[in-house]
């Protein structure tokens, strides 16, 4: 009996299953099950008060598709995400280049670098909902510090380029509101992209860069023909993160504009929240949020292919 017990305990395959089971079960119950529920909701008439299942086919999707607000949300979600990602990756590349430039090793330099690093990662480290409250003040219609700086630079106010008004009213005008939201996304994602790119840059073997220098390659040539191609896979990974986080984000829009003015800054997560939770129509809310899924699937496929290619190498 004891021998069987100890063999049983020492079976490493069994141990693998025992160890993997809780996490797997948990994920199936809290990610898999809700996902299936979302699919079911989207083809039913579920509301907050009544979750009985009436199959209505694709009617929710059709209804949603015909709503102008939904069209706005769809277009905004894509354009916000794509524009924000392009800006983020450009800024992050510049910043990563700056921060990986070798400096004379002085004590004051190291402390300065530490403080700089702290300030630079604050946008990513701070809970988004709290830093966006900060931006709400920065974009305030009357007291905006940004407007003040523009006024001091003689760009805003009576008789100036952007005048005669004293305030730009960032969140009250469609185009400015969109720009503000994209800006906050870029501000927030750039630190993460930068540190990911820096990790990639520091993993480039130094003899490769020395070789380029011996061959007489100048800074920008080394940058574009050696460094950037080498960190391409990592850049892709950081883009994917940015894409997923921005695409599914509710926080920025919820706190800054709630989708306004009218529906000019509505996004899919915001619309899904307004319909599903505020409006109590779980079925249509689920249908809206499911439009995110194909994008997620696409990103997952790209990710898998990148990972498997990295493995081959």
């Amino acid at each position: 009996m004891n021998a069987i017990m100890s063999r049983w305990i020492d079976d490493s395959r069994l141990m693998g299953i025992v160890f993997l089971a809780p996490a797997t079960l948990y994920i199936v119950l809290l990610v898999g099950l809700p996902f299936v529920t979302a699919l079911l909701f989207s083809v039913s008439t579920a509301t907050v008060g009544d979750a009985s299942f009436n199959y209505v086919g694709l009617r929710n999707f059709a209804n949603v598709w015909q709503t102008p607000a939904f069209r706005d949300a769809l277009v905004n979600t894509f354009s916000f995400t794509v524009i924000a990602q392009i800006c983020t990756i450009i800024l992050a590349n510049i910043l990563a280049q700056l921060l990986t430039t070798p400096l004379p090793q002085r004590r004051s330099g190291r402390i300065g670098m530490w403080i700089a690093r702290m300030l630079l990662i604050l946008p990513w480290a701070t809970p988004l909902s709290l830093s966006v409250v900060g931006w709400l003040w920065m974009f305030d219609s009357k007291y905006s510090p940004i407007d003040y700086i523009f006024r001091e630079l003689a760009l805003l106010g009576p008789g100036t380029v952007w005048g005669p008004a004293n305030n730009l009213i960032w969140l009250g005008k469609p185009l400015l509101a969109k720009a503000s939201i994209i800006f906050v996304h870029v501000w927030r994602m750039t630190p993460l992209a930068t540190v990911i790119l820096m990790a990639g840059l520091s993993s480039i073997p130094t003899d490769l860069l020395d070789q380029a220098e011996v061959d007489g390659s100048r800074y920008f040539r080394t940058l574009f023909q050696v460094k950037l191609p080498l960190i391409m896979p990592i850049m892709l990974i950081s883009l994917l993160f940015g894409f997923i986080f921005t695409f599914g984000d509710l926080t920025v829009v919820y706190i800054l504009t709630r989708g306004g003015p009218i529906t000019h800054t509505l996004t899919l997560p915001m619309y899904s929240f307004l319909v599903g939770i505020d409006g109590g129509n779980l079925a249509q809310g689920a249908a809206v949020s499911l439009f995110i899924f194909p994008v997620l699937l696409l990103v997952a496929v790209v990710l898998l292919r990148t990972a498997s290619r990295a493995e081959v190498r």
Partner: protein
């Protein structure tokens, strides 16, 4: 100065090099300072506003960075004593600690199993874990809301403790997998020879060696619970159960009335400690985000 353009002149070359170095240093410092200022701007403004009197703050046209009156601690006092801020802090802390415990209990064994599963199966299961991490809460909050209502957990921190590990477990498992892979199986074998069974070997030999990974998971998971917004917004509407991420923007703003100084102070008070912790653990967190493509 002619030597600036005529390079090869003896002595001039060295000076030109020095000028170039100073120029490059200045450019470098200016550029980094510019980015720092941009990144930190809302926090710097928060720091200024926190101590301003109402008269200083709401003065149209005047500089928002000036102090005409003496800096005041009145708004911090107000934040701590007249609002539910401390209860948000407590709720966030309780939730964070509980989620850390659940996450470790689930992801440590799972990561070990995946790390020791040899060949393609282990690898692809690992990547699957990572993809689960990428499923945005936006996709799941409506069905989960229904489930939470059904379980009677609305307005209860337990709802968050139940759901948050669905974000933290996949990422933590992925992160820990890398750590376990770097521990040679021979160490475990040696422990078995010494008379431990496999579970004891895991507990006494493997876990102590994976301590840096465990610390990263604790930091990552705790800050994740601080950051999360959607679930907290949807599951909890009673103000006494609110957490920091939703309590500050919903409860400290009453209708259209903004109490800007306490509001911005509350954000700054969270930003500083979290920023410090992120700075300390940055390299390890980045390792997780680069899919193991970069070995730190």
């Amino acid at each position: 100065m002619a030597s600036l353009t005529a390079g090869p002149a003896p002595g001039g070359g060295a000076r030109r090099l020095r000028v170039m170095r100073v120029l490059r240093g200045t450019f470098y410092t200016t550029a980094v300072l510019f980015f720092c200022l941009l990144a930190a701007s809302p926090f710097l403004v928060m720091g200024v506003v926190t101590f301003q009197t109402d008269q200083d703050l709401y003065k149209r046209g005047a500089s928002p960075f000036d102090y005409e009156d003496m800096p005041t601690l009145e708004h911090l006092d107000n934040l701590f004593n007249d609002t539910r801020y401390l209860s948000f802090v407590r709720n966030s802390t309780v939730t964070g600690i509980a989620v850390v415990v659940v996450t470790l209990a689930l992801s440590l064994p799972a990561a070990w199993a995946l790390a020791r599963l040899t060949g393609r199966r282990g690898e692809s299961m690992g990547i699957l874990m990572f993809i689960v991490y990428l499923v945005p809460p936006t996709l799941l909050f409506i069905p989960l809301f229904r489930i939470i209502v059904q379980l009677g957990l609305r307005d209860n921190l337990l709802s968050l403790i139940l759901v948050y590990p669905s974000i933290s477990v996949p990422f933590s498992t992925w992160l820990l997998m890398g750590f376990f892979k770097s521990i040679p199986p021979e160490l475990e074998e040696a422990a078995l020879v010494d008379g431990f069974n496999r579970y004891e070997a895991f507990w006494r030999v493997v876990l102590p060696l994976a301590r840096p990974g465990i610390i990263s998971v604790v930091v990552f998971t705790f800050t994740l619970t601080l950051h999360e917004f959607i679930y907290s917004l949807v599951f909890i509407s009673a103000s006494e159960a609110r957490t920091l991420s939703t309590g500050v923007p919903t409860e400290l703003i009453r209708g259209d009335v903004f109490f800007w100084q306490p509001l911005l102070a509350s954000a700054l008070l969270v930003a500083i400690p979290v920023g410090l912790v992120y700075n300390l653990f940055l390299d390890r967190l980045v390792q997780g985000f680069t899919l193991g493509a970069v070995k730190g």
